[in-house]
């Protein structure tokens, strides 16, 4: 299988991050969208495709389009598969582009997870829900508890240790220390992670992502449109998505293997490259374990060897696989659905936007892999510098 067309990431942007008490979720999404269009050198009148997920509204793409005054788009995408929705939307946009349905699609996210009211679509656990009427009675603090159940099983089957999981948090913080936008920039050690407060043992606080306000957006354009723009082009050359379960972690077929074991190989095949070709990786890091199991499933190391793989700073600035180079959900920001920020950072690295150690030298090829729900959905996007 090959991509029907290779969309170009023409614009990327965040809203203000961290705490935005004077903004609501839709404002954060709209601000990010307008900044991303500006980054691409486009205006909202150029937009003919709209994607929006994680909204406090069950018709998300409609609400963003209406708010921005985008009438009659020819591509609309309200896919909601959790944090990986945006990677899935990239895949969908590529197909719509191949059909001539869109030349300029915006994909956006916005939240006030930290300072706003609780999102009823995140917490909406009605007591007559056909599944949640059972799930809620476990009293599981989720999502951390669900991911921790996966981690514990991985530790049991493969001998993975809390120290190895902690290495992921440490490497990620090293990257965050170079990002002025990161919420947590002070270096940490493995001991700091192990000594942080227990949340859902085997996870401690520093195994868990932040809770932030903020939004993000990307603008995808057709290769023809990209040629008209003054941008450093970064192209999508592979994309695939899947899911295994929804809200009850006991429904996951195998706690130690995610859908990335399917979406990863499919996306790599589309791109015609392998894990060895990847210069920089953006791997959803809701929790340390999310990264470890995803790296295995994508094929960066053998199943069960993720712990060994991440030891010694592999994912850090001096490591063999620079990953989560803006500081990730663990240290930069995590406003609920982190997938949009994976695409933003992957694009910036491949544009060579940064200076010094913050830039992965000569990065030509990247991966953005989103995980949604509770290890539930998996969506892989392969990106390459240039027009393919």
């Amino acid at each position: 299988m090959t991509m029907p067309v290779n969309p170009v990431m023409a614009g990327v942007a965040e809203s203000d991050l961290g705490e935005t008490p004077d903004r609501n979720w839709l404002e954060n999404a709209a601000i990010a969208t307008m900044r991303a269009l500006d980054d691409a050198g486009l205006s909202k009148d150029d937009v003919d495709g709209v994607g929006f997920a994680g909204a406090d509204d069950y018709m998300p793409s409609l609400v963003l389009a209406e708010y921005l005054g985008i009438d009659l788009p020819t591509h609309t995408d309200g896919t909601e598969i959790g944090g990986s929705s945006f990677e899935a939307m990239v895949e969908h946009a590529a197909h719509a582009m191949a059909q001539g349905k869109t030349d300029v699609t915006v994909i956006a996210y916005g939240s006030t997870s930290k300072t706003g009211e609780e999102n009823p679509y995140e917490s909406g656990q009605r007591e007559d829900h056909p599944v949640n009427q059972f799930t809620r009675l476990a009293g599981l603090f989720t999502p951390p508890g669900a991911y921790a159940l996966g981690a514990r099983r991985h530790m049991h089957e493969y001998g993975t240790t809390q120290e190895q999981l902690a290495e992921i948090a440490v490497s990620t913080r090293e990257w965050a220390s170079m990002n002025p936008k990161a919420a947590q920039q002070d270096p940490i050690t493995v001991e700091d992670v192990l000594d942080s407060r227990p949340i859902t043992d085997p996870f401690n606080l520093l195994d868990c992502c932040l809770v932030s306000d903020g939004g993000g957006a990307v603008v995808l354009v057709s290769p023809e449109k990209a040629a008209e723009l003054d941008i450093v082009p970064v192209s999508v050359t592979g994309a695939a998505s899947t899911h295994t379960h929804r809200g009850d972690i006991s429904e996951m077929p195998d706690l130690t293997q995610t859908g990335a074991a399917q979406s990863g190989p499919q996306a790599f095949e589309e791109a015609g490259i392998t894990t060895d070709d990847i210069d920089v990786a953006q791997i959803y890091d809701s929790f340390t374990y999310t990264v470890l199991v995803t790296l295995e499933d994508l094929g960066f190391c053998e199943k069960g060897k993720g712990g060994e793989f991440v030891e010694g700073g592999t994912l850090g600035p001096d490591g063999d696989l620079p990953a989560n180079t803006q500081g990730g959900g663990l240290s930069y920001c995590h406003p609920g659905h982190f997938g949009i920020f994976l695409l933003i950072e992957a694009t910036r690295q491949l544009r060579h936007e940064y200076e010094g150690d913050r830039q992965v030298d000569g990065a030509e090829t990247g991966i953005a892999h989103g995980t949604g729900g509770i290890l539930s959905s998996s969506s892989t996007v392969i990106l390459e510098r240039g027009v393919n």
């Binding site: 656990q125 007559d128 056909p130 009293g139 599981l140 921790a148 049991h156 859902t200 706690l255």
Partner: protein
Amino acid sequence: MSDSIPIEDKRESWEGPIPLPNGVTEEFWAGTVDGEFRLQHCGDCGEAQFYPRVVCKHCGSMDLDWEPASGDGTVHSYIVNHIPGEEGFGEFAPYVVAIVELEEGPHLTAMMPVDGDDVEIGTAVEARFWQISDDTAMPVFVPA
């Protein structure tokens, strides 16, 4: 007939969620207040499933019958939950939440009102019911 699972009446003290049975879930909850952990068994492929559905998740058959399960199983994975995940669980924290593999095959996520030191992956467990409303009793598990 079935192994009867002990029921502890918590209707007075329970402050957590109370399920509202509907559709095919009514049959499950009706069993709980009689001390029965009812599982659906497929008339075509023979597999058991939990949670209840109108379709067999294994083969797609709609020929499903209810049979009481033993309530016995083993711990497939577990965590120690230091932060209550729902209202009503605060008084138990820290408490264990486990994925239990029932001896009939299905997995479910359930609370274990025990100390983390009492549980390992592979620990044999058995069900108890906490009756939390007139119509429902929630399954919890303790080491066998």
